[in-house]
Amino acid sequence: MTPDGSLLVADDLHKAYGPTVALDGAGFSIHPGEVVAVMGPSGSGKSTLLHCLAGIVTPDSGSILYNGREMATMNDAERSALRRSEFGFVFQFGQLVPELTCVENVALPLRLNGTSRKEAERAALTWMERLEVDDLGKKRPGEVSGGQGQRVAVARALVTDPRVLFADEPTGALDSLNGERVMELLTDAARTTNAAVVLVTHEARVAAYSDREIVVRDGKSRDMERVV
């Protein structure tokens, strides 16, 4: 699978944890500005696929090309740099640093990349405005609701203008209305910046915000666009 113009392409990925096979020949591809849902039952390997694509986990075999470059040939420092500057992450729970205010949380990735505090917090506030949480800047994560916290997390994931946003069950802990708003804001923001979004979800109503879906079952993937 080597679709032209793909930003991130994986082919024939295998990964086992001891005797447990997590990925068994899975593939994936995504273009800039595209939102692809990765669906499948619990334990099907979808989170492992996301972790491999994001360079968090190294597959046992198979190829992952990011922007034309094989990730297996990168060293740890290069992969870390990639995760910090080119990738953004949103997870289901516990991603904000409780001791920092919301604006400091959003500014954190820029600060880690060496941006000055003033400039980082200015960029953070711009993103918080887009995610409709700019009034929470001085509050700490413990003082905001789940839905607000998740929007802060999305703002933080997007503050570095990543080219790929990895979202693993980003609305899993939210009620329908909040989940929906987070998905609207997340996909709008990603489309505005032409970021690709890898969206792992088992919820169909969340997947409906994607452009297409890949189904993972027993470690194998199936690109439904090529089926229907």
Partner: protein, 174 residues
């Protein structure tokens, strides 16, 4: 949906011509399936025959005469009864898809494939509805949400069935 009851309900706020009724129906309920004029006029003559509406006035025009309809007391009672009666849940999907899945298993075809294809089709429709919801007003959102929740319920059934295919195969081929 009962077109007759819906048109009757629209008439409750005041008399209207057939054309106005069609326009009001399409605007509020007919996003996917606007009414044909023929449907409006055949429905109105049935309601007229059953005494649920009456002709409130006739305007002569260049073409056919334009009748203005008004709801009768019997019509209002009929709308009232319809609104108070719950709808029968529609178990259409289980029966059709269940049949397909069982037939696939019996004929040694790939039943998971049928479920995957159906999931993709459901998601395709869910994307259209989600997009309409994003662009629409509150009424659009509520109408689309209703459809989305139903499709989601179907999808949950698909997932559960996919997870039980081996057991189902055992049961139906016994």
């Amino acid at each position: 949906m009962s077109i007759g009851h819906t048109l009757l309900g629209l008439l409750e706020s005041g008399p209207r011509h057939g054309y106005d009724l069609k326009r009001a129906f399409d605007e509020k309920f007919g996003h996917d399936r606007p009414l044909h004029y023929g449907q409006v006029y055949s429905t109105m003559s049935r309601l007229l025959k059953n005494g649920l509406v009456e002709v409130d006035g006739i305007e002569p025009g260049g073409g056919p005469e334009r009748k203005r309809y008004a709801i009768t007391d019997a019509g209002i009672t009929d709308v009232e009864r319809w609104l108070a009666t719950p709808e029968a849940p529609e178990p259409y999907l289980q029966s059709t898809l269940y049949t397909k899945v069982v037939l696939a298993l019996l004929t040694h075809r790939d039943a998971a494939d049928i479920l995957d294809t159906q999931r993709a089709e459901h998601l395709r429709l869910m994307r259209i509805l989600t997009d309409r919801k994003r662009r629409g007003d509150l009424a659009d959102q509520l109408i689309c949400d209703h459809a989305l929740f139903h499709l989601e319920a179907d999808l949950r059934w698909l997932e559960l069935t996919a997870a039980r295919l081996d057991k189902l195969a055992e049961a139906v081929t016994k």
